[in-house]
Amino acid sequence: MKISSVIAMAAVLLALVGVALFGPNTAINFLVTALIVALAAQGWNLLGGYCGQFSFGHAAFFGTGAYVTAILQSRYGVNAWIGCGCGILAGAAIGTLIGWLSFRAGLRGSYFALITLAFAEVLRIAANAAPITGGGTGLLLKLDMRAANFQFASRGTFCLIVLACVLAVLALTTWIARTKRGAEFAAVRENEDAARALGIDVLVTKLRAMALSGAITAAAGCLYTQYFLYLDSNIAYGSWISVESLLAVIVGGIATPAGPIIGALALHALGEATRLLAGRITGIDLVLFGLILVAATAFAPKGLAGLWNAAQSRRSPRA
């Protein structure tokens, strides 16, 4: 990595910590939401970026993580930290299950994208109808601000925890990309048949990516629950999180460790700016997101990270 990139990342990190410690509540709220989306997008990036399997239904993992911890806490009085652990495991489990069903049936590419979308929608309708999720009225978690409950009086503290999670996954992703498992992901992404010919178990490799991706996105769902203390089926399993986690990766830079974080922060900043400029017209920020997705695919297939790297190598033609 180039010195300039390291400096840029350190500066961004410092700014984020600064906002978390000293920023006004609105800024912290913005940052927490953006970072939760970044975490969900990091999950998407492992599966879609590194392993090449595009999912349109990551809400299935986000919602499962969120609901498992919320239900365990509100209905069974389970400790919040343990609840979140269970939520993450449930995300890995549902990821493996959906992956096992779809990949065993030989679904690839667009078919896989569509079936993940359908799974997320079935879960959304089921969650809206089932009594255990509180149906249409949703679930409210009891306000009890103690660290033992994973609730904090200071929003800044929570923001730092989310930031720590994002950085941990950043490190994990960077590490995995360099291991044999990461090479297997890339091999499956580039050419499944060739990977199989090299003796890679394609199904197991994809399931590993699904489980890991599911767990990370479920963790984002758990953090969402702990921060907002409220959940309904349209938040948990709604298409917004499927779209935003995919979009953040594409905009930030697919199959790059920092891409999802850059993308999530950029998109949320843009969303806020649009709302400020255009007022409260429902959907106007999403119109922009859709157009950005088209434009990013057309003009910047490697996302903002790619643009940054291109600009860096233009400045130092030796590289």
Binding site: F54, F56, L101, S102, A105, G106, L107, G109, S110, Y111, A113, L114, I115, L117, A118, F119, E121, V122, I125, A126, A129, V243, L246, I250, I281, T282, G283, I284, L286, V287, F289, G290, L291, I292, L293, V294, A295, T297, A298, P301
Partner: protein
């Protein structure tokens, strides 16, 4: 508890709805068969067409059925331009890119409609929805009967277009062998755009047939697009006859499912059927190639 007459009526109603579903699916399967892409914006474009029909009827006071031909032409042009100038250049022939570009378009279109029309549910004024025809022991809605007939005629026209005209031959040639067609002097980019335009024109017709008995909201397309995908997979990707049969079948299944299980489960039922079809018969019921 269900007399044969009620079941028969549900089945016939299912067939009537199924024909319009088939029309939506025809556009999708044609685009898939020729361009080998899944057009994720299909649902959003249908919603767009439904709003156009609504506007033509409510704001301009044009009869719904008279509005269909000009709207079909407009959507033909719109689809042509979309593929030629946006989807084609932006995705550079890569499947994953096409998926992302059409997803982006669908998000943009749907939310632009949301911003313009809010999330209110709109229907056509007038009592066309209650206009019924007595057929033996059954009471059938007249707009739905018209929809059924027109959908079948359009499907037939489409089939004739593909079989009998030069453009149709070129489309089939490109679907079969892109490189070979290009070497024979066929402009592949033009054929791609034309096919996409025809797919959109199908949507405009379907929208005109749906609206007299249905409602429109900015999100209405999502439900239809999954139904259409189910039909396309069921009928075999790219098969026109398969889409027609698949559409009628899904219409009947949905109608009977609604009768036996209630409406709320019917909504989830569509997705469950879709998942089951993909998992169990990804090559379609009629055993087409994958």
């Amino acid at each position: 508890m269900y007399t044969p007459a009620i079941v028969a009526e549900a089945m016939v109603n299912g067939l009537l709805t199924g024909a319009v579903y088939a029309l939506v699916a025809l556009g999708l399967t044609l685009v898939y068969g020729v361009l080998h892409i899944i057009n994720f914006a299909h649902g959003a474009l249908l919603t767009c067409a439904m709003f156009a029909v609504w506007a033509a009827s409510e704001l301009l006071g044009i009869n719904v059925y008279l509005a269909i031909p000009p709207l079909a032409l407009i959507f033909l042009a719109l689809g042509y331009a979309l593929q030629r100038f946006v989807i084609g250049p932006a995705s550079r022939g890569d499947d994953a890119n096409t998926l992302l570009v059409t997803l982006g378009l669908s998000i943009a279109i749907e939310n632009a409609l949301l911003a313009a029309f809010k999330s209110d549910t709109r229907t056509l004024s007038g009592d066309a929805a209650f206009d019924v025809v007595e057929l033996g022991p059954m009471l059938l809605s007249r707009p739905r009967l018209i929809g059924f007939a027109v959908a079948l005629v359009v499907a037939l026209l489409l089939w004739a277009l593909l079989r009998r005209t030069d453009s149709g031959k070129a489309i089939r040639a490109v679907a079969r062998e892109k490189m070979g067609a290009s070497l024979m002097g066929i402009d592949v980019r033009h054929i791609y755009a034309l096919t996409f335009g025809i797919g959109c024109a199908c949507l405009a017709v379907a929208a005109g047939l749906l609206l007299p008995t249905f409602y429109v909201t900015p999100r209405v397309g999502q439900a239809f697009v999954l139904v259409a995908f189910t039909i396309v997979v069921l009928g075999g990707m790219g098969s026109v006859a398969g889409a027609l049969l698949g559409g009628l079948l899904i219409g009947v299944v949905e109608s009977l499912g609604g009768l036996l299980l209630g409406e709320s489960l019917g909504q989830a039922g569509i997705f469950v059927i879709f998942i089951l079809v993909l998992l169990l018969r990804p090559t379609g019921l009629f055993g087409a190639r994958a």
